[in-house]
């Protein structure tokens, strides 16, 4: 089926924005959005056409604990809120435990940690750098950063799945929480602009995690699969 036929694409984008597209069709379409700007643009157009429908929904003030929970998940309350510190299940604690346990995660993932220490420049800002994620000797993704643009190329060795997505993270040198750079392609190549808040981060490593379709909703990585350093081109 030719998804990029204009009429067909328009109908699919409308289905996606309405929410009537679901299951595997929705996942397939989300992958097309990642790959083709034309598909994303059509979705954005429908979002804007239908947005005035949201104006007809009565506003409701959310309960106070909603903001507290958002602050806790982002890490605003990581040190000041006793309940978050006391709760082992709290995402922010899990996130810091992940960052703190980074060395042991890398040890567990021996064999897929490829770039040698001499080649890595862990404290350099994100400009003109490259990383290769491998499993054993098999390259999976090539990641390049040129200026503020990130390009990721998937190899044929990447296993695509309807049930999960791969997400790219930078692990800051200063020990702060990992920052998402978005979803990894499962085939082909994607290029996107780097978020402004990543420009000046000194990088300890980059990592790929396994996430539910659409990526992490907590802002913290799930299961970390691959970790590597960055090399200046």
């Amino acid at each position: 089926m030719n998804y990029l036929n204009d009429e067909r694409l328009d109908a699919l984008a409308a289905d996606y924005v309405m929410g009537t597209m679901h299951g595997r069709a929705r996942l397939r379409f989300m992958r097309l959005m990642q790959t083709y700007h034309k598909v994303r643009e059509r979705v954005w157009h429908w979002e804007q056409l239908l947005a005035p429908m949201n104006e007809k929904v009565a506003p409701l003030t959310p309960p106070g604990h909603v903001w507290e929970e958002i602050s806790r998940r982002i890490g605003f309350l990581e040190s000041g809120l006793p309940t978050a510190a006391a709760n082992d299940e709290s995402p922010s604690k899990g996130l810091f435990a992940w960052a703190g346990g980074f060395a042991s995660a890398a040890v567990l993932l021996l064999g897929i940690f490829i770039i040698t220490p001499e080649q890595t420049v862990p404290t350099a800002p994100l400009t003109e750098q490259v990383a290769v994620f491998k499993e054993g000797e098999q390259p999976l993704w090539l990641m390049e950063v040129s200026g503020n643009e990130l390009t990721v190329q998937a190899t044929s060795a990447v296993t695509a799945s309807e049930d999960h997505d791969y997400e790219l993270w930078i692990v800051p040198e200063d020990g702060s929480a990992p920052v998402s750079l978005g979803l990894m392609p499962e085939d082909g190549r994607v290029t996107r602009m780097l978020a402004v808040n990543t420009h000046d981060i000194a990088i300890k490593a980059v990592a790929v995690s396994l996430e539910a379709p659409g990526g992490s909703v907590t802002g913290a990585p799930g299961e970390v699969l691959y970790v590597t350093g960055l090399t200046i081109l």
Binding site: D10, A11, A14, V17, M18, G19, T20, H22, G23, R26, E41, W44, W46, E47, Q48, L49, L50, A51, P52, M53, N54, E55, K56, V57, A58, P59, L60, T61, P62, P63, H65, V66, W67, E69, I70, R73, I74, F76, V179, S180, G182, R192, M193, L194, A195, V196, N197, T198, G214, V217, T218, G219
Partner: protein, 178 residues
């Protein structure tokens, strides 16, 4: 919240300014929580969707650009997609039909700024739709129903629902783009 303020706030959030994020939440939270409640019909689930959406807004603020429409449109889409994902995951685990049957038609109000050109255009174009097309569009958009759920809810054959929604949306699009 005017669009200039939204733009300033989202730029500041992209730079990691927490105060701006809190201001954005205070300004947009009630409207977005309303959208989530309309879809989820449960305070707990609407709160979960809103929390997850705002975490995503914080992490992805730098991805916002004017091609996405207004900041409010972009944020509303994030909330809606999170709600739809949650609804589909609920539907997969339990029969949502009972709760759908209990609820009536979507509760809609007059827009806060009915004189805005976008709101006027939507009203005008909605009036051009067939009654059935409009009903199915409302059930999908405001209630988050799949075609199959609309079929169970209304008793209309699946193919009819699909083609009427599609026909209605295309008619709406043509009218709104004029």
């Amino acid at each position: 919240m005017d669009s200039e303020l939204q733009q300033r706030l989202i730029n500041a959030v992209a730079r990691g300014e927490r105060q701006a994020f809190e201001q954005l939440y205070e300004a947009a939270g009630p409207r977005l929580y309303g959208v989530a409640m309309q879809l989820m019909r449960s305070p707990e689930r609407a709160e979960e969707a809103l929390q997850e959406a705002f975490v995503k807004i914080w992490h992805n603020a730098a991805d916002y650009h004017q091609g996405r429409g207004s900041v409010m449109t972009w944020m509303s889409s994030i909330v809606r997609y999170r709600c739809i994902d949650l609804l589909r995951s609920i539907s997969a685990k339990e029969d949502r039909q009972d709760s759908l049957d209990e609820e009536g038609a979507p509760v809609l109000i007059a827009p806060e700024h009915p004189e805005d050109p976008e709101n006027l255009a939507l009203e005008r174009c909605m009036d051009t739709l067939e009654r059935d097309d409009l009903q199915y569009i409302h059930l999908a958009y405001y209630r988050g129903m799949t075609h199959a759920e609309i079929q169970s809810h209304t008793g209309t054959p699946l193919g009819t629902i699909k083609s009427w929604i599609r026909r209605g949306l295309q008619r709406l699009k043509r009218c709104l783009e004029q």
